[in-house]
């Protein structure tokens, strides 16, 4: 039996599928997060240098990974939308953006909480911190541009172009900030040299990353359903949905 995957490019077909899939991803996220937090908080050994404070790594690193990964996925959906002219791709990008911005914010916030006990400062102008901050601005720009344009078709395409420009710029920004920081020889703290990590720490971090990943999928599927309902509100199939007509 072959399944015609292209069918799901239509919002009408994807809406129920997203509704069926999202709870599973959410359940997976909850289970993985529970397992990851257990490994991270109870099984992983205390770090001999940083004590217990290092345990924020189990939130911080997954959030930072997801913040960058989601931007790339979002830009890919934008590219698909611009090339194939599929409406659902733009909606997908729009649904991903708030989750990506949230992970960026969590990465910055938890990094700041981690920085205080280990470096003695809430914030340093380290290359990673600075480029993560700029990534947050890029997410906010994407959402602000989309929100500012009333014509949905135009908003989709304009924001998509911005996301593509952004994704080309992210590596340039990262390397220029990195170079700038080494040139200024300012704060000499480095978080680039990863300490050799106990296996349980690594396992905990990977499980938490999977949890963050599953959460991102679930959250964006739920958000996507709302976006579809909002945009297709005038169409018959939406009016006939039990959750709408009731």
């Amino acid at each position: 039996m072959t399944v015609n995957l292209w069918k799901y490019a239509a919002p009408q077909a994807f809406y129920p599928l997203a509704g069926r899939l999202a709870p599973w991803f959410l359940a997976l996220a909850a289970a993985l997060a529970a397992a990851g937090l257990y490994v991270g908080l109870f099984v992983a050994p205390t770090d001999f240098q940083q004590g217990e404070s290092y345990r924020i790594i189990f939130v911080h690193v997954p959030a930072a990974w997801m913040s960058m990964f989601i931007y790339v996925v979002m830009a890919s959906w934008c590219a698909v939308g611009l090339i194939l002219n599929t409406r659902l791709s733009f909606m997908m990008a729009l649904a991903l953006a708030p989750t990506g911005a949230m992970f960026t914010f969590i990465a910055l916030w938890s990094g700041s909480l981690w920085g205080k006990p280990t470096w003695g400062a809430w914030w340093v102008w380290d290359a990673r911190l600075t480029s993560e901050l700029i990534l947050l601005f890029l997410y906010i720009g994407f959402m602000a541009l989309h929100a500012a344009i009333d014509d949905v078709r135009r908003a989709d395409r304009a924001a998509a172009l911005l996301a593509l420009v952004g994704v080309v710029n992210v590596p340039i920004i990262y390397f220029s900030v990195k170079w700038w920081n080494t040139l200024h020889q300012g704060a000499s703290v480095s978080l680039t040299r990863a300490p050799s990590m106990a296996a349980t720490m690594l396992v905990g971090m990977l499980i938490m990353s999977l949890a963050a990943w599953m959460y991102a999928i679930a959250a964006s599927l739920y958000r996507l359903r709302s976006v579809i309902l909002e945009r297709e509100a005038h169409v018959d199939w939406v009016r006939q949905l039990p959750e709408v007509s009731a």
């Binding site: 700029i134 602000a144 500012a148 304009a158 172009l161 920004i173």
Partner: protein, 227 residues
């Protein structure tokens, strides 16, 4: 009628935009004085101490150039968008990329070049050594052109949008970061008597990339805005 060849068309768009700018000089002058005023606020806000001024000068001049360039972007496409000229340009047989490039060049000649030419005076006000002024002008020459090319994308994306001004800043300023870093670093290096050629080379590379990709993205954004 045979359509104009590419070079004459490019030249005629540049000439048209320059003529328009000369007829309405106050727009360009406002940007220019904005730059000068912003730079002169810093000694009052921070300290008139020469040793401090010398350290902050590269960053101050560059941040002011960034803001001035961003402020000027609002006039790049918006008047032509409002009166329909932009639509006519998009319908013309010549590639829109070329015409957008011509508009950006004219825009830079009016708003970017004056900044490059006055920067040495501001550098002297900030007690920069005279040997650093050449490097400063060169970095601004490469950098402001880069800013105009990158900023044009944002200007085209925000055409006819509610609250375009603040939005434009939000979209464009993060993309300006690499130019700011290498531009200010080039000035700092030449102020310290170090060779600035490395930073200037990177600025040149950024400029080349912006020349190739900037007009392509701007033209796509103009087409999106025109619908």
């Amino acid at each position: 009628m045979k359509p104009l060849a590419l070079a004459p068309m490019f030249a005629s768009v540049v000439r048209r935009d320059l003529t328009l700018a000369l007829r309405r000089r106050s727009d360009a002058l406002t940007t220019f004085f904005f730059f000068v005023i912003v730079v002169s606020l810093f000694p009052m806000g921070i300290s008139p101490e020469p040793s401090i001024l010398r350290v902050i000068a590269p960053g101050v001049v560059w941040v002011a150039a960034l803001l001035a360039s961003m402020l000027a972007l609002m006039r790049l496409f918006a008047p032509d968008f409002d009166d329909g000229t932009l639509e006519q340009l998009a319908l013309s047989p010549q590639p829109l990329v070329l015409l957008v490039g011509a508009k950006v060049l004219a825009h830079w000649l009016v708003t970017g070049l004056p900044l490059v030419l006055t920067a040495p005076l501001l550098g002297l006000q900030f007690q920069l050594p005279e040997s650093a002024l050449g490097g400063m002008m060169l970095s601004l020459l490469l950098g402001t052109l880069c800013l105009s090319l990158i900023g044009a994308i944002g200007a085209a994306l925000t055409l006819g949008v509610r609250g375009a001004g603040a939005l434009l800043a939000l979209l464009v300023l993060p993309l300006y970061v690499p130019v700011l870093i290498f531009g200010a670093a080039a000035v700092s290096a030449s102020a310290e008597g170090m060779p600035a050629s490395g930073h200037l080379s990177v600025l040149g590379a950024l400029l080349l990339a912006a020349i190739v990709f900037g007009p392509l993205a701007s033209a796509a954004a103009v087409r999106i805005a025109l619908g």
